[in-house]
């Protein structure tokens, strides 16, 4: 394989795009929202409990998404064939009124050097030919490292004056509210990234809908469940098609609410409602970062809410670097909570208390990638704010790398199959964040796509197995499922191989692209084509790949091989695991029905072929029309103005072979441990009795730490005593990490000295950690006291008011008024008064600790407060 790109810049031009579906993409979330309303209103009386509406709506949306994707592909191809006669070129600049926006690009076709006199469009327009002499440089289209921008590659020498262009995102907007010079618009923005997510979300949602009709059949709140599935899909689609950051915030919050509702679907059992609350509160903590970051960006980009405007302002340098850095870090906090990055990931494993299809949809394929999508969307901000192009490590990459390792390490010690997959998801999300942090944008988005497919396959497979044995505990209730459930076994196997990253399945291609994107490989081989010497990231990624393969082998063994250990429990292992309240008990577990199996087959099939979408450049000598298709259609060109100029790493055969060997080695080790040693001990054994952790103290200590999930939950949950040592240790570790990261970032980006920045980062990190911990502990504490009566009241309202009202109005209006009086006055008002009383009791318990009766303490507080106020007055005013 060629190790260099013959760089061709396809003119670096942009044109407008259009298309019916592209401009009217708002229909897609709207359909789902309408479906939500109909299901909640009328679903109970429908023959299939509302699921048919949901499935129909999602099916329609999926087809529309495919059509939209098709139109976008057409637009990309059309733009590529543009000539100055046929197309109107545009660029992002200022128009006659001085307002930034897309204006006609008149300097096309004649002389390429004109293209780069666009007002500050390309921050690196001057360093085109100066570096990387190893690469033949082409038509003066300012490529920074002599590499091609996305997609327009060829193995022939460049043509001077190429006029091929790329489409800009299709934005359709209308004004929502106009006030004193600030216009609030709502609109949609469609480009390659949007279209990818549209397809993925609708596809997985459709399959989950079909799957759920079997999985939650007979459930106590079947209709409610489908209603919220629709609402979630609507919210996610709304989020993905947002044109401005306000809409993104709305969508973000809405998916958080739906996640809360769906995780706590069986909220009558305390652990489920606790898990839902934990998910919501942890997300809330991160949402502060989202709000602050977005507000900073609004003011820093000259008061613009639009995604394109904010990114363009970041890229062309009109936003100050410091503000970009701060905003990126704030948004990073939001991403950490939503996408389960380390130290705010604690909600994800607990969220497995929800029904398995929900886990598959929300916590594997869609909601958790909202954070990754946010970064990908606002990549101009992150790229410039965190100086990703520089050679120094940035916070995003560090957090991603740490998350991959943490997630993978924790996946080893779980007994619950869904928890293994949850930690695996955390680990893979870490991969995506890592990729974004090292500048491998397409690798991250591609991994997002493939991960959605095979992780959903794995989750649904786990659900299928649990459907048969009514439990999720691998050690106690599974084993030898291969004979009982052959299809599930095969699809799960395919999913596992894809996750582990063995060729030629999808995971291999996307993971390898990320590993190559870190650039650390070339560092060893003497090529200098890196985004930075992120060798550490590469090593961490490699280790994680090995661990992934190993723990999936473990899961395979415990679930599908050996002897069947279950069937002796008459209780429903996890009460939450079994959605069939009235399911008859069978003797042996049996394969699931077609509505469960067909989604599994489809996803497994996709997991096999999806990798072919983004074959590396020059793979096996294939022409450029077949390789890198995904990148070609999805990655925006920097000419569009809202995407930075990023460099692409060289694909490397040696890296691919090495990583495959590493993965194979890991599989081999795990295979030896489980299939050979454990199996030799006994066919129904689940681990070695005299294994390494029993013999070695250090390993045992490590194992205990993993079992306790690094003690993070002990710190966050006010119900458990805080290990002061642990909390301090975590705080110090986090603070130091933040310090180092900030030190490196500022050192690299702003040319500040390392040590002051590092110390600031340490202080900031410790402060943030303390605030987060305090917020989580207080939030959980207060909420715990109020949620049970509130949840009861809310459910009561829903069941007895909404449904009863609808029925009564239909029957007899006098009786309706009577019922309304009785239910609302008695039930709601009294119920809420009582709940308020219990709430204040709970809050009072927390606040009681402040009134000690020590007058001097009061005086201290008063004095300190007065001093601060005085200081503020004097110093600030």
């Amino acid at each position: 394989m060629n190790t260099t790109y013959l760089a061709v810049e396809a003119g670096d031009l942009a044109v407008e795009a259009s298309g019916f579906f592209l401009e009217n993409v708002w229909i897609i979330p709207a359909i789902m929202a309408v479906s939500f309303a109909i299901i909640l209103g009328a679903g109970k009386r429908m023959p299939k409990g509302g699921s048919e509406i949901g499935i129909a709506a999602v099916g329609v949306c999926f087809i529309l998404a495919l059509l939209t994707a098709g139109q976008w592909v057409g637009q990309v191809n059309a733009a590529e064939a543009c000539t100055p006669e046929t197309c109107d070129y545009v660029k992002y600049g200022t128009d006659e009124d001085g307002e930034p926006g897309y204006v006609a690009n008149k300097s096309v076709g004649a002389d390429h050097s004109d293209d780069h006199s666009e007002e500050g469009d390309h921050s690196d327009e001057d360093d085109d030919h100066s570096d990387e002499g190893a690469f033949p440089v082409d038509a003066g289209a300012g490529s920074s490292d002599g590499e091609s921008a996305s997609g327009f590659t060829a193995f022939v020498d460049a043509e001077e004056g190429s006029t091929a262009a790329a489409p800009i995102a299709v934005i359709s907007e209308r004004t929502w509210w106009s006030n004193g010079g600030i216009d609030f618009t709502v609109g949609t923005m469609v480009d390659g990234l949007t279209v990818t997510l549209l397809v993925v979300v609708t596809l997985v949602s459709l399959l989950v809908h079909i799957y759920s009709t079997d999985y939650v059949a007979g459930d106590r709140r079947f209709t409610h469940y489908f209603g919220f599935l629709s609402l979630f899909t609507a919210a996610m689609l709304f989020f993905v098609t947002s044109a401005n950051v306000l809409q993104m915030i709305v969508g973000w919050e809405l998916v958080g609410v739906c996640s809360f509702a769906l995780i706590g679907h069986w909220w009558e059992e305390q652990p489920n409602s606790d898990a839902a609350l934990k998910a919501f509160l942890t997300n809330r903590v991160g949402d502060m970062g989202l709000l602050i970051g977005m507000i900073i960006l609004f003011f820093a980009s000259n008061e613009k809410w639009g995604i394109v405007d904010i990114n363009a302002a970041a890229i062309n340098g009109s936003t100050s670097h410091t503000l970009l850095l701060i905003a990126s870090l704030c948004l990073l906090a939001a991403v950490m909570s939503k996408s389960g990055q380390f130290f705010l990931h604690t909600w994800l494993p607990d969220a497995m208390a929800g029904p398995t299809p929900v886990s598959a949809l929300i916590h594997a394929a869609t909601m958790v990638v909202a954070g990754v999508y946010l970064i990908a969307r606002m990549y101009g901000v992150f790229f410039n704010g965190l100086s990703i192009a520089g050679s120094s490590i940035n916070a995003l990459a560090v957090i991603g790398a740490v998350t991959t390792l943490v997630g993978a390490s924790l996946a080893f010690v779980q007994d619950d199959i869904k928890k293994v997959l949850a930690y695996s998801t955390i680990s893979q999300l870490g991969y995506m964040t890592l990729a974004l942090g090292v500048g491998a944008w397409t690798a991250a988005v591609f991994h997002l796509t493939t991960h959605a497919l095979f992780k959903a396959c794995l989750f649904l497979g786990a659900g299928s197995v649990s459907h048969a044995v009514h439990s999720f505990d691998m050690k106690k209730d599974m084993g030898g499922m291969r004979e009982f459930m052959p299809t599930t076994y095969k699809t799960f196997l395919i999913g596992s191989i894809a996750l582990a990253g063995l060729p030629p399945l999808a995971g291999f291609w996307s993971k390898d692209e990320i590993l190559a994107g870190t650039g650390g490989w070339g560092f060893w081989e003497g090529e200098s084509h890196a985004n930075g010497a992120y060798t550490v990231m590469l090593v961490m990624g490699m280790i994680t790949a090995a661990m992934t393969a190993a723990y999936m082998t473990r899961v395979m063994y415990l679930t599908f091989f050996g002897e069947f250990r279950g069937g002796h429990h008459d209780d429903h292992g996890h009460a939450a695991a079994d959605a069939h309240d009235d399911h008859a008990h069978h003797g042996d577990p049996h394969e699931s029905g077609p509505r469960i199996l067909w989604p599994l087959r489809i996803l497994a099939g996709l997991a096999v072929v999806a990798g072919l979408m983004n074959l590396p450049k020059g793979f096996l000598g294939l022409p450029s029309g077949i390789t890198l298709r995904f990148e070609h259609f999805v990655e925006p060109l920097s000419a569009t103005g809202y995407f930075p100029k990023i460099s692409h790493a060289d694909p490397s055969w040696s890296l691919a072979i090495f990583s495959t060997l590493v993965v194979a080695f890991a599989v081999g080790v795990a295979y030896y441990y489980y299939f050979v040693r454990v199996n030799a001990q006994s066919p129904s054994a689940t681990e070695l009795i005299n294994g390494p952790t029993a013999r070695n103290k250090l390993l045992k200590a490590g194992h205990t730490m993993l079992k306790n999930r690094y003690y993070l939950d002990h710190i966050y949950d006010s119900g458990e005593p805080v290990g002061a040592a642990g909390a301090t240790a975590m705080g110090v570790i986090f603070g130091s990490a933040a310090g180092l990261t900030l030190g490196f970032s500022l050192d690299n980006g702003l040319d500040q000295n390392f040590w002051p920045s590092a110390i600031w980062g340490l202080v900031l990190g410790l402060t943030v950690f303390t605030i987060v911990t305090a917020a989580l502990r207080t939030g959980v504490g207060i909420a715990t006291a109020t949620k049970r009566p509130l949840a009861n009241a809310a459910n009561w309202v829903h069941e007895n008011i909404i449904d009863a009202t609808v029925d009564e109005v239909g029957k007899n209006s006098v009786k309706t008024a009577d019922a309304l009086y009785k239910y609302i006055d008695q039930g709601v008002i009294d119920g809420s008064v009582n709940a308020a009383g219990r709430g204040s009791q709970g809050a009072g318990g927390e606040l009681r600790r402040w009134s000690t009766g020590q007058v001097q303490q009061y005086a201290t507080v008063m004095f300190a407060g007065a001093t601060l106020l005085a200081g503020l007055l004097i110093i600030v005013i």
Partner: protein, 185 residues
Amino acid sequence: MTALSGTMVLAAETVVAQNVFFYLIAAVMVIAALRVVTTSNIVHAALYLVVVLAGVAAQFILLGAEFVGVTQVLVYIGAVIVLFLFGIMLTRAKVGAEDGLNHDNVAPAILTAVLLVLVMGYAVIDFAKVPWSDSSLKIDVLDRAPTTVEQVSDSIFSTYIVAFEAISVLLLAALIGAIVVARKE
């Protein structure tokens, strides 16, 4: 008064003397004040307070407020400290050092005090701007004589007569109040 005024009727060169005295006395005051709040012997605390109060009186005299200085000595050192010593005695304070005079956790107090010092320091420096060379803020006590008792008493009994009466009533109220609060049933 002549002995005290002697230091002030010297020539301009000996303004140095006033500065020297000021700094000496200020240093002594600060150290004594620190000892008041940190010593573990309560009687010693009262005695250090005497030192501080005496220092304050000296500062008053340096500033030309002789009557106030003398009143300070009479009232504060003469009466208030005696009250304190009586209070210490009546509440059976231990003779010699005792522990338990400070809170276990003095960190908030230190923090508040430091914060306060910083804020006030900022305010003062901000006010003075270039503190040590601005001559308009410099006092040259030779310019005027120290204020006399007649001036002060004239002022009290004419301009501030209402306040004076109010203070008298206050003292009466305090007297009665203290008796009522502290009497044995």
